[in-house]
């Protein structure tokens, strides 16, 4: 019985695989919605993925690289898989997709505000829990490089928000 050759993964297939890999520190969001996938290239039996770091000091980057490599290898054990980190293009919080913003909000993490230069810390931001705009910035820094801490004066709930970068 002749073995039917399975068609290789397309670039869209690879993107779908990456979309299902959670961010190590905010596991509610996948790598594609977070905007850290810069490029996907498939040619013959080789797959090349370029990731970009959110913040340079983010320790999750190495975990992301390993997760992408391991996941692709488990699907395509014979393919040549290369996962590179690129600095050619900065990650910005604008890269988080609308779906990604919604999933962050639903899990209690405020989506990033529009990036402003110079940085504006007084932009109104809705509370992800009660929706009130009466929130204040408690700390421009947070538990990870990409997050800051706000406080909602309406429902008295502190919450984290992705920094505008």
């Amino acid at each position: 019985m002749s073995e039917v050759a399975r068609p290789p993964l397309s670039e869209a297939d690879v993107r779908a695989v990456l979309a299902a890999i959670p961010d190590p520190e905010m596991p509610v969001i996948g790598l594609v919605d977070l905007g850290v996938v810069r490029s996907v290239a498939v040619s013959g039996d080789s797959i090349r993925v370029e990731l970009i770091p959110t913040f340079l000091g983010c320790p999750a980057l190495e975990l992301m690289v390993a997760a992408v490599r391991d996941r692709l290898r488990s699907i395509e054990p014979d393919a040549t898989i290369e996962v590179a980190v690129s600095h050619a293009e900065p990650w910005t919080s604008e890269r988080i997709s609308p779906a990604g913003r919604e999933v962050l909000r639903r899990s209690g993490i405020g989506p990033p505000l529009p990036m402003a230069v110079p940085i504006r810390l007084d932009q109104p931001a809705p509370c992800p829990y009660c929706g009130s705009g009466r929130t204040v910035l408690d700390n421009a820094f947070g538990p990870t490089p990409c997050r800051q801490i706000r406080y909602c004066t309406a429902c008295r709930q502190p919450f984290e928000q992705v920094k505008a970068l």
Binding site: F55, G57, H87, P118, I119, F141, K163, L165
Partner: protein, 258 residues
């Protein structure tokens, strides 16, 4: 990235030295400020200073990686296997972190000078450096905003905070401009556009940029650097202690995985 392949041979050594100075600055400051983790004057600052330190260590790691790739050396070996005297950070960072006022004063002096330097490097003719500088510059805006708020707050006090700030300023001020002291072989790098702006011009830009804050805070402008030739050499006893600390794990087990 292809290492120094696209860099003229005569520029490789000066460029390696330049990258090392940038990386060592961020590494030593990041490590020094990480000492506040758990003991900062308030919880918010504990989080903030730890995050700032983490950013600097991230910048250092990326710069050591770029250097390591260029000269064919393991970045961890560059960071952890050099004796203290081979470090090339600016003398400003040789001071111990001191009290909170000293930490803020030093950070403000460093971040304002480093900001001018990094913003200029975004225009480097060497793409890997220009790319990395662009990423670093975006993060550093948050640092300047944060320490900028703090220095004004300490300066506006008329009691202990102001006294401590003045004491720190007297000690740190004379070494502030070491961050922008010219590096060996810099002229050739500037001529090639790898370093887009010469140190002397960066220093002028830095002095102009900090003048309004200095005047508002009633702080004297930092004097010109003493002995600019050794601005990044002959490190202090305090730095040797810090070096012994940050190399201790590596010395204990060089093969340890992080």
């Amino acid at each position: 990235m292809s290492g120094f392949d696209d860099i003229a041979p005569a520029l490789r050594e000066p460029l390696a030295g330049y990258l090392l100075a940038l990386a060592d600055d961020e590494f030593v400051l990041g490590f020094s400020d990480s000492e506040w983790t758990g003991i900062a004057p308030m919880l918010e600052e504990d989080v903030a200073m730890s995050s700032l330190a983490q950013d600097e260590l991230g910048h250092a790691a990326a710069l050591y990686a770029l250097l390591g790739e260029s000269i064919g050396r393991d970045p961890d070996a560059i960071a952890y296997d050099r004796p203290a005297e081979d470090f090339r950070h600016a003398r400003l960072l040789d001071h111990p972190r001191g009290d909170w006022a000293a930490t803020i004063a030093r950070r403000w002096l460093y971040d304002t000078a480093d900001g001018v330097r990094v913003e200029a490097l975004v225009g480097s003719s060497w793409q890997p450096l220009a790319d990395l500088a662009a990423l670093i510059a975006r993060e550093e805006r948050y640092h300047r905003l944060h320490v900028g708020t703090w220095i004004e707050r300490l300066a506006a006090d008329d009691g202990e905070a102001r006294r401590r700030l003045d004491t720190a300023w007297e000690r740190l001020g004379p070494d502030a401009a070491t961050v922008l002291a010219p590096l060996p072989g810099e002229e050739a790098l500037v001529a090639a556009g790898v370093v887009p702006v010469a140190s002397a011009e960066l220093e002028r830009g830095w002095r102009a940029s900090i003048a309004p804050t200095l005047s508002r805070c009633r702080l004297p402008a930092p004097p010109p650097v003493r002995e600019p030739g050794s601005a990044r050499q002959r490190h202090s006893t305090e730095f040797r202690d810090l070096h012994a600390e940050f190399t201790s794990v590596r010395r204990l087990d060089p093969a340890a995985a992080w």
